[in-house]
Amino acid sequence: MINTVAGKTIAASLLLFGMLSPSFAHAQAASAAAQRETMDIGDEPGRISTEEATIKSGPFARQLVFFRSNEPPGTLVIHTSERFLYVVMPNNRALRYGIGVGREGFTWSGLVKITRKAEWPDWTPPPEMIARQPYLPRFMAGGPGNPMGARAMYLGSTVYRIHGTNQPETIGQSISSGCFRLANGDVIDLYSRAAVGAKVVIRHSAQL
């Protein structure tokens, strides 16, 4: 299910109250994917971030937290408004990561599964980025200068992903076009914990 904030907060509310089925969500996701051939992550290539880059302090640092949830262990819960991703663990605990999220108009909520994982994923700049930066390669094989960062987890059949970044300073901000980004060291840690098929719940609380 893909619900952009613009005009889609009702669907987000439905999801929060369990009124939107996963199958309906999947159908919407496929439709959204069909509308966009390339992922626009609103990021810049050519910056370097190593596998060791993590958020080391503050609320966005990776940490074990109390987390009450009915979701089974192994589920990923993303709170876009708070810029947190939780990996649900037993006994009302979760491992929390700071994330970067979609900018206004590009946040979404839904229920999807991890369908694929990739190390140092390739990157295809969207057409609008090529228009702005015509010197860019149209395809960049995975590597340290790649905006997708060290790892990627593909969400359902959507164009959206949980991925690393070559700009860890953007964690906690909303500048992407709907993807969820973590510092490379953190996304590598998450990658080792998140299995293909794992449930991913994306929640976005409407701002009043």
Binding site: P45, G46, R47, I48, D122, P127, I130, R132, Q133, P134, Y135, P137, R138, F139, M140, A141, G142, G143, P144, G145
Partner: protein, 151 residues
Amino acid sequence: MHNFKYGVLVILCAGLAACGTVETMAPTAAPSAVATLPADALIGKWGIASYREEKDRVRTERMARSFCGRSPYTITKGPTDGVMMHVADDTKQYELALKRSRDGKTYLGFATPPGDPQDREIISMTDKEVIMRYVDPDANTRYGTFIYVRC
């Protein structure tokens, strides 16, 4: 970034107005001092993609070709002997020339001595494909090695 005319102006400025030391400007030779090669072979439309590791080269080449239809990169003839292209991190196009260094390497760049940090080093070049990388280590690390496949 410089084009040919700007390069000349900078050199004149260094000599006449003392706005730069002779030592600093010495590597920037006048255009006439740089032996260039015909760059016409680069003119046309190309699919471009980049990679970092040799294992990715073949599929990167395939991807470059796939962008001929969607988003080709067009190289046109420049005002003099060069071609109009972009350099790293700059949205403007400049006239660039093919240059041969004494050790036999070929570079693409401004009218500076071959191997200038703003140059690209030509790894291989045929009518159908050109492989090149930025001389500047930082740009090379960031962008990797480029494959240009003629459309």
